[in-house]
């Protein structure tokens, strides 16, 4: 009985909600690490618009574009999974809203695709 009760409060790592929890956290960490670099890059304008254009030319490299695609996708998924957390915590309980996880992944893929079409 006690063993069963203990099992029931363990996180179920096979649950889609656990995957969403991990993706939300990892995307948040990546975005937090990226932010200072993003801000410092925009601050290059203080040295003249040419400095920012120099960086933007560097940003045309495929590897940088791939990183930007990843950041756009991660920002989208962090937004949707974050909205799911707020909904679960603050709105009346209507289940774990697992379909939001699929929607979040789909929207992140869509935003990433629109980004790639835009820069192609």
């Amino acid at each position: 009985m006690i063993a069963g009760a203990t099992r029931s409060v363990r996180p179920d790592r096979r649950h889609w909600g656990f995957a969403a929890f991990v993706v939300h956290r990892v995307s948040g960490i990546v975005l937090a690490l990226f932010l200072p670099a993003h801000f410092l890059t925009l601050g290059l304008v203080l040295e003249g618009a040419g400095s920012l254009d120099g960086f933007l030319a560097f940003a045309e490299l495929p590897l940088v574009k791939a990183s930007e695609w990843a950041l756009v996708s991660l920002l989208t998924i962090h937004l949707v999974f974050g909205l799911r957390v707020l909904t679960l915590e603050f709105l009346p309980w209507r289940g774990a809203r697992k379909h939001w996880i699929g929607w979040g992944a789909g929207l992140a893929l869509a935003a990433g695709a629109v980004f790639l079409f835009g820069v192609a």
Binding site: G28, L35, L40, L42, L46, L52, D53, E60, L86, A111
Partner: protein
């Protein structure tokens, strides 16, 4: 303190959600055909609206991100206590300073 941090994290998230949505839409619109400094500054320079929008964005992110990173580090690493809290305060200050400097750079 944990209750206050939880509240700040959620309040900043509620504020950030619509700001991120607009920022994402702007990114997807602006990157079409490539970015130039002239194009970016043409949109932002002298704009009180964008200054307020991104000023608020920076402040909310500077509150939201360090609390989130602190939660993750406390749960996924052995780092906790005053050294972690101090490091997260420094992260908040770094984000606020570099972020507001970036807003100043593109709107003035």
């Amino acid at each position: 303190m944990e209750t206050r941090l939880f509240a700040l994290q959620r309040l900043s998230a509620m504020l950030l959600a619509p700001l991120v949505l607009v920022h994402l839409a702007l990114i997807l619109y602006a990157v079409r055909g490539g970015l130039t400094a002239e194009e970016i500054l043409g949109r932002t320079q002298g704009s009180v609206g964008w200054a307020l929008f991104y000023g608020l964005f920076v402040l909310a992110a500077a509150v939201h991100a360090p609390i989130g990173v602190r939660n993750v580090l406390r749960e996924w690493s052995a780092w906790r206590g005053t050294s972690l809290d101090g490091a997260m305060l420094l992260l908040a200050a770094l984000l606020m300073a570099t972020g507001l400097r970036a807003v100043w750079a593109v709107v003035t």
